[in-house]
Symmetry: C2
């Protein structure tokens, strides 16, 4: 299943947002990496807000599928979420897309901020489904995971994520 052009554009956009944030990438930058002109990117996604919203929604859906898959294989929600973030950090050195979008917050078009919020909301509820955990625990654990990615990214050290979350393993 070869990714079509639309998917490829979203792949590049996701990587750029996770590196520079919403205000830190441009249509021309995406176009250059894909190997087309910026007008072609606009053909697939008329506005920047629509592109970012589509990227955030795909990220959330993919993440939800991964969580459900891992939990079906017997993992606890806390361990599953930690492992998913840990692997993403190791593989591409980038933090959670929705964490960075959440921080840029109300400076973003409403649909983009809404998708980020929906991701975090799912995270809190999903983690809170673990035995003996409540909603406040879900928020506590997700906060620790997002913050640990923030630290690891600032220091360029994936192991800092491991140390900051070793109590969740």
């Amino acid at each position: 299943m070869v990714p079509d052009r639309r998917d490829l554009i979203m792949d590049v956009a996701e990587r750029l947002i996770r590196t520079h944030g919403y205000n830190g990438f441009s249509f021309r930058e995406i176009a250059a990496e894909v190997g087309v002109k910026s007008a072609s990117v606009h053909y697939h996604f008329p506005t920047k807000a629509e592109l970012a919203t589509a990227v955030a929604r795909r990220y959330r859906k993919k993440f939800e599928a991964k969580v459900q898959d891992a939990e079906a294989n017997g993992g606890s929600p806390v361990a599953v979420w930690r492992d998913l973030f840990r692997r993403a950090l190791r593989e591409d050195g980038r933090m959670c897309l929705c964490g960075i979008l959440a921080i840029e917050g109300d400076a973003l078009p409403a649909p983009v901020a809404g998708e980020a919020r929906a991701f975090l909301d799912y995270g809190i509820r999903s983690i809170a489904e673990a035995p003996d955990l409540n909603d406040a625990d879900g928020a506590r654990v997700l906060a620790q995971l997002e913050g640990a990615m923030l630290l690891a990214r600032s220091f360029g050290d994936p192991e800092l994520f491991d140390r900051a979350t070793q109590d969740l393993a």
Copy 2:
């Protein structure tokens, strides 16, 4: 002690960065809020990188002073850090300046990213000085605090910070 123009520019810049991030504010925006023209802002801070670096350094120094002051009054490092972030979130609804700069990471001029890293490094070491805590605990607690601010900001709900960090109180 009336703040001079230079301080006022830094005040506005700090607020804007904490709302929109480094790539989300402009000299003209600062100038408009201060009541001058953008060329005057350039007189005080020749480049955007220098302005952001100065703002981040001042933020770090002020925070260090607040931490030392609160600890001198008998607070434990964990409680002191939680309380300082909690109050900032309540007072102006904005998260840690260096948290947002850390996330934008390598997309930033090196001196700016360096100041953010220095703040986080101080946070980890400062918290780890609490009795019975080590460096990994410092990273864990700071991660939880930065992540809790991220969540509270995304949902526009300061109480979410309280719930996500109630175990640190």
